[in-house]
Symmetry: D2
Subunit: 442 residues, 4 copies
């Protein structure tokens, strides 16, 4: 079997900041950052779909990429094998520890659920062998419940319970597959769990359906002994006008309301954060602070475009804050940085797939170094401690403990005419500190 | 005491669709719509701040309005009285049943909390007399916890507990005032409860503080016997980069998490909805469906501008869906349509304040008629019933009841190869039905 | 040849506002509005691509529509014929006077330019016969220079002049075809004339290329005696990060700079306007005021979604202002309202295509009635006359004529201390007048 | 006269990347970058208004800053003097070469145009002395034609020609003042030259007025012998719904249409670029490529907020591309990087003003180093040369020269079946090159 990426003969090497040719300029997998290696911090993963299953099409144009297995006239299972070979060749050469896939990325859908299942089983067996050979692990599996016309009005939230049933079959089987492959997590992205128009929609009914579905997944996970983490992936819209898993706070509330907190964590995507009107930093900090942080889809959007561009993350300036919060929260447990990234449609050289990933990984590695420095020097934490110090003093403690009522506190404020002078928030100074850390880290 | 609006000598009359001069073309307060009058459905309110306390300034320009009481050299309490006279003259002539105010709109802040309280008490006494004379009622009161420099970093979420204490004193007193005036609700808008930068911010700490504050308000409300509804008002940003009460779903989750559900409802503003990336329709439908609907700040934004323009609501096309959901939910209990609306800065004639309100009220009245027709003819509900019918059948019922596990359901799907044909969502047809209702209602 | 839309047996009738079944509730083609019939005012057109060539796919999902000619295994020319039959059946039954198409919508691309041309010629001959039978006319033709991978980096603006040459061949042939079919206009939409990243882009070089291309089209049009209007279609982005024909003002400046003003007019799309940060109203008013108005792609976006949703236009509130400006400008010359509209992906019934178009046409008809009333009553023009009256007085005339220098005028202002009192812009009052016109028009 | 910034006793020193205390970490004014010093490249300027005239207010809150001269009860001319002293102390200590001001920033408006002029003359005399003492120069002056209520409906574009006359007097006098102070440029920002609603607006009439105004300014500039550059400053909206100087392309077209090209260049603001839906990079590249580049308002917006936040520019990732284009264009002539930046409202320490500026200047200096490296190594230009090489070959030359008609070129394409294989745009690779340059530059 011939290589698909002959121009990259072996593993992408660490070449150092001014090294020549294709190689990592910052990411040195074994380099220790604090008490963990870069590899253990970042837990890098490649995605099957954008990198191997997407032809380079967009809503106005056909596929541009050189992906022979996507040709129309090829036998579906042979195509799936060629795709798998290329994927594992790529992941191995890149040196990523993990990959991720949807059921339909890896195996062709059959004429029936049974046939689809058989196809997937065959390909999963083959993947297991590849994983064993290469040492690549599965970060997460997921079922595609959004591309087929049957899911146009949602999967779990479909007005037709038969679609729910079909989705259940797919998820059950993909959860089995993920379990079989030792997946560290299982993801549910509700791409069509939302609405196109509220005129025909009952939001509460659909919320109940979604919660029911998730509860069934939780139970089933226990039944089969899957110990990976279940992850929900917030996105505000696209393809639907509105998606129910809008952002971390919305998902958090939903989980809490349906007694699913503790069972699910969030898989945060950079571009989904910005589409929801938040910074990537915000979504990660929210999840860390509220104990629902799970994993990351590492990419970025274009601030001037209103859709999911899924670009490779390259801005260290934008990556330092979310990586900082992850470190502050203790780092990943079962999650990792999964490259849910699309090459630009003009990036048609096979080596472009390496350039995209290598650049993104270097940017994350650089952000890791900076974030580690900021955390170990307590640059931000020291500032935060000072800023909130009053809440560990008498007044603050009394208020938070609940021992003071509004009337009592108000009386005290009036009696002492409490009116503290504002203090500087120091934002510009802190922004400079961040830049100092970026510029002085190498 | 002379009138401020001499060009509008008496109550704004209902003049019918083609009537001449200033008057309501659709809103006829006593007209029955179903089992309630228009006035009882809409529960219209005027706000003190934009209409009487705002000089017509914006971030790039000085006040343009003719509001003599805002002159620099006038005695603060005399100014407050003149403002109050004008406000009650306006509300009475407009024929709105309600008004709303912040503490600092109605009475000047004093040199101490005690003095501020005394000023407010005096003005509230005077307001009580006006209300008694005119029959105008208080829809809600609220404390301004965002304009003074002490609140630059938040009130309840301030890093300094003394600011929390000061805010507690203001809220306690304003809640007392609202109670004294028979207010139907009390609103908390967290204009500065958010952050400018996450670099110096602990989101979770601040969430805990905010929850503590709200709990204290709940307890105090009970203590004094206030029976109005407590309302939170979602807004995603502005003035702060991020506001914690981002949207209804976020507030809902927050309330649930801190055991405050049932104690608070939401006050939804049209323009806040659109700033959060939602439609006004969405926010209202969410609140109705999840039992947290309280009241409305009736206004609209400009779809091309990224800030809170607070324009008068004039688009029946945009108003019909949220009004429909409110009717579907049973209408307002203690809430109402409160005109949180600003005249454009060039609208400097005194009569413009009438034009703005009258046009907005007519648009709401028209939307009410249309929504009532849609609801009584079950145009949408019939469609929704048909669309979700499967969920009341066997399969749907079994799924929702929890009697089926994922494995069992999946087995069933595989065995029967369940794969339902999609059905049309009928969106264009339904949109036409809405237009039909609008065009055929008069 | 069997019908594709058997459920709509004949022409869609005018049924009046409360008529039953599928029919126009407002649009009555022969009804006179001023001195022209509704049909002559609106000059309605159906597009081939979204309605017959698009399978209902989106970036996350496969096609959902029942369009048998798009099946994979069908002979391309037989498929094109079936599509054409369905299209003309639809247009005829709908009662639209016009249609529009891209070369590749109507005929399959061949293995060479020559073959593609032959395919198109064959289908154009067939279309000519259909047009003759049905009376349907061609509003405009256009060449698809954006879907094929060769155009990934642009057509006229491609870094490779051979792509320019290929595009020239396509446009030449499609312009021939449009001419042969008596097309009233020819459109160039630069879907890929823009950039994905400025890092590899020379904007000025590409602008020069684009201008060269357009000049060649102008010359060729003269050569063949085509007397239709050439139209450019502004869009700010999507599929590219940035499109050069950003909005009307940008296109206007470009045409002027390259001496193409007078040769091209603009084809304005509602959804493109809003994606560019403008209102639809703005773009139309700009084009009318600057003499570059050509035609309309009638659709709307979703104010909460950042991409081109191409929905059917249904909001009379949003349509009245642009339709008003068009009437004020004297109405269409060669242009018309072309339905560049996509059904929602769930609207899979064949009749949904009728519902979408009928609803959109009714909304335009209603807007036409309202706009005509506003114009004939001079509601806005009277107000505008009053507002700008000073510019026809002495001072205004002197200033505009250029007879006063800055120094002279400044001296005069200082000498008389000119400082006029602002007057009300009357925005709320005018908004009410628009609503009055909408509500009182039937 | 005592210092206002005693905590910063003397000039801010260059301290190197890890230096302690307040100081420049990258910006070393005399360091040569290519053939010019950093200072000569960057031509740094401080603005009077945000830094000394703005109290820290926002639309929801009062001023928070410690600016004693803004107190209500102080004599206006004494206040203006104190403000001027503080401003020159700050600019000198910061080591910026330039400053900028509006007429009303520097001197109080009087009761008449004559009195305003006298106030300004007095303060300008005083400023001249300060400039002579300190060596600080004037980058540009400008007249505030947007804050006073008389300008609510525009200045040059006002429906009332008397407002035009008043504006002319202000501009004439401020242009005189700028000339007297040796200003390198004069700026016109049309903050209210736009509209709030099109219902009452004649866009073309207003465009003609604006062009007339600008022509008068050009003539007057010649009359007095002012040799600085006239600059227009694009902004899409805010405070108005729509501003006529929307973006560079719009301004470019406008200037061309009214024969003003060559007389005006553009002053590009980072935050205005992003509000217009462009990147800062785009606007600068457009202006450079089209010969209208003048100067920069150096700041940034918040990608999640829809208004002008005017933050200090800190992201080297975002600054490298625009700085690169400026270098490619040959650098500033009369323009410079003017800090049109606002402290966050919580940044109330006097030293925060230094932190903001120092951090921004360091970021620009770092971007300068990186951009210089990219340009001197031809990293991007080499790529661009290769990409567009075809346009210097036979075919490209023939096309651009106009020697080939569409028919001829089409015939050639058909005959040779020209259909070039796409080549990679290399975006990810180039993005990595930019990061390499950033990371390896110190």
């Amino acid at each position: 079997m011939s290589e698909f990426f002959p121009d990259v003969p072996g593993p992408v090497p660490f070449i150092g900041i001014d090294g020549e040719g294709l190689g990592y300029r910052v990411y040195d997998s074994d380099q220790m950052v604090g008490d963990k290696s870069m590899a253990d911090h970042l837990r890098l993963a490649v995605c099957y779909w954008h990198s191997f299953n997407w032809p380079g099409s967009d809503i106005f144009g056909d596929g541009t990429f050189d992906r022979p297995w996507l040709a129309r006239d090829i036998d579906p299972m042979r195509a799936a094998e060629a795709k798998q070979d290329a994927a594992f060749e790529f992941i191995s050469k890149l040196g990523a520890r993990f990959f991720s896939f949807h059921d339909v990325d890896m195996a062709p859908q059959g004429a029936s659920l049974k046939e689809s299942r058989a196809n997937l089983d065959a390909m999963v067996d083959r993947a297991a062998a590849k994983m064993s050979q290469t040492g690549v692990e599965l970060l997460w599996g997921t079922a595609n419940l959004f591309s087929h016309p049957r899911f146009a009005a949602g999967a779990a939230t479909n007005p037709n319970p038969e679609v729910f049933a079909h989705a259940a079959a797919q998820v059950r089987h993909m959860l089995d597959a993920t379990h079989r492959l030792g997946g560290h997590n299982y993801v549910l992205w509700g791409g069509r769990e939302g609405y196109e128009t509220l005129l025909n929609t009952r939001m509460r009914q659909e919320a109940d359906q979604l919660a029911r579905f998730l509860s069934m997944v939780v139970d089933y996970k226990r039944t089969i002994g899957f110990e990976g983490t279940l992850l929900l992936e917030p996105k505000p819209q696209e393809p639907t006008k509105h998606q129910y898993d809008y952002d971390c706070a919305t998902v958090h509330g939903f989980l809490d309301r349906y007694d699913l907190l503790g069972e699910f964590k969030v898989n945060i995507e950079g571009n989904h954060a910005t589409l929801a009107g938040h910074s990537f930093h915000h979504e990660v900090a929210y999840a860390i602070d509220h104990g629902i942080f799970g994993s990351i889809d590492a990419n970025r959007g274009d601030h001037q475009n209103g859709w999911d561009t899924d670009q490779f993350p390259t801005s260290v300036d934008e990556l330092v804050p979310p990586v900082y919060e992850i470190l502050r929260g203790g780092g990943f447990e079962t999650g990792g940085f999964m490259f849910d990234t699309k090459l630009r449609r003009q990036s048609i050289d096979r080596s472009d797939l390496f350039h995209g990933h290598v650049g993104g990984i270097d940017a994350l590695a650089k952000a890791l170094l900076v974030a580690h420095k900021l955390l170990s020097e307590r640059t931000l934490e020291g500032e935060r401690d000072r800023r909130y110090a009053g809440w560990t003093d008498d007044l603050g403690t009394q208020i938070l403990s609940g021992s003071l009522g509004l009337g009592e506190l108000a009386d005290r404020a009036v009696a002492h005419n409490i009116d503290p002078t504002p203090v500087s928030g120091g934002q510009e100074r802190l922004e400079n500190e961040i830049n100092h850390a970026i510029w002085s880290t190498s």
